[in-house]
């Protein structure tokens, strides 16, 4: 019988939470986990237990995470829900910051030109017909949008596109696409976003954003979303 020095187990409504001590060596942790797991005496037919692993202030690499998951996977009765750590790599933090920062560009995107941005784009200038702006986050244009704008290019459907004058050839948000009507002029101070029910891009006045997307200005929004 090994005394549990590194792992504390707590039962919650959703399953088990394993608190891993963050001062011991990772190998010791694995050894202990192995012995803990081997002690299980759950009947075969029971529903799998959901596991949440709390690592505390320990950083683990992807490889180590795989190892952890593997150990649980060997035991049929556990499914790992989440592995949570308080710390992230500096690099990851910078990526997050980059991802949520607003990039300011002051130029005209002309026909045949394409501007690709990680994070939010604030463009002071026009996007002319045949020009294209792409951002992984939101797109704000202080100018005339006549070309193509693609927000949330890596799949974030909650991104929006706003422009002082909106008469685009196409709007794309994540993988949703819409083209402008063949007739009619654009509108002043409009924005486009994906309607949650119909999965289509709809246009509205910018002023309504404060109500519908109050989380736009929250820096942590994507960190919270993982």
């Amino acid at each position: 019988m090994v005394t549990n020095r590194c792992i504390t187990i707590k039962g919650t409504r959703d399953g088990l939470t394993l608190f891993m001590d963050d001062t011991c060596a990772f190998n010791d942790l694995l050894k202990e986990l192995e012995s803990v797991l081997s002690m299980n005496y759950i009947a075969e037919n029971e529903q799998p237990i959901r596991i949440r692993v709390e690592l505390g202030n320990r950083y683990i690499t992807g490889e180590q995470e795989e190892k952890l998951k593997e150990m649980f996977a060997n035991q049929q009765n556990f499914t790992v829900d989440q592995i949570v750590s308080n710390v992230i790599l500096k690099q990851t933090a910078l990526e997050w910051k980059d991802d949520t920062a607003i990039k300011l560009h002051n130029k005209i995107i002309r026909s045949g030109q394409e501007l690709n941005i990680v994070g939010d784009l604030l463009l002071i200038g026009d996007v002319n017909p045949g020009g294209k702006v792409v951002a992984t986050g939101n797109i704000y244009i202080l100018g005339h949008l006549r070309g193509i704008a693609h927000a949330g290019s890596d799949g974030n459907k909650s991104s929006i596109i706003a422009a002082s004058y909106m008469s685009p050839t196409q709007l794309r948000i994540a993988n949703v696409m819409s083209r402008s009507p063949d007739e009619g002029d654009g509108g002043m101070m409009e924005c486009g976003f994906v309607d949650r029910d119909s999965e289509q891009i709809i246009m509205d006045r910018i002023s309504t954003l404060a109500r519908t997307r109050s989380d736009l200005s929250v820096f942590e929004r994507r960190i919270m979303n993982g």
Binding site: I108, R110, S111, G112, D126, N128, P129, G130, H144
Partner: protein
Amino acid sequence: MGEAIVITSGKGGVGKTTTTANLGTSLALLEKKVCLIDTDIGLRNLDVVMGLENRIIYDIIDVVEKRCKVSQALVKDKRFDCLYLLPAAQTSDKNALTPEGMIEIITELKAEYDYILIDCPAGIEQGFKNAVAGADKALVVTTPEKSSVRDADRIIGLLEQEDIDPPNLIINRIRNHMMKSGDMLDIDEIMQILSIDLIGIVADDDEVIKATNHGEPIAFQPNTKASISYRNISRRILGESVPLQSLDQKVTFIDKLKKVFGRN
């Protein structure tokens, strides 16, 4: 030390060659020493528009390949002593002309001439790159049509990446009645999209076609609308500030009478 100005448009048929010929002529009228260079290898027309076709002996490719000196290839205009043309080659290999070759020729010409106008071929390929290579300034020609404005926009984007001054715009072939009725893009709309400085507008004028077919640039004629436009642009190139000419027809007494009787 002279200044090299490239005249370009992206789209074909908007009037690059006509503009080059007329600006050359009107600059010569203002007693500047001007050299025109045709860089449209294989499809040269500047010599035809200038009426100098029969005087060509050597061409620009001969210069690049050192078969002759630049001064030997230059054709003197039949009307002015201060206007010369360096013709394009009609038959040689297109690839013989390179940006380096152009820069070399233009540097040599700059020592001698006040203005060097480069007629650029349509398109954005090698020919465009050659024409732009040695230029200090660029004039973009467009017509009030969507397709032509789109191509001008593309060209301006490419010019912004080059090491030259921000380009100026010439709007060519303006038909005033169509602009007024809204069937043609109007000047404001074009300026809004392209957002570069306007250096001149030229009305659509049958006289231009007539003059071109005679091999005599219209700028030579004293008072057609188009010739005044071209001469105004030249003065603006020299740095004078000349107001844009009004496109409206002068309303004559008979027109007024017709209006009164409801026949217009």
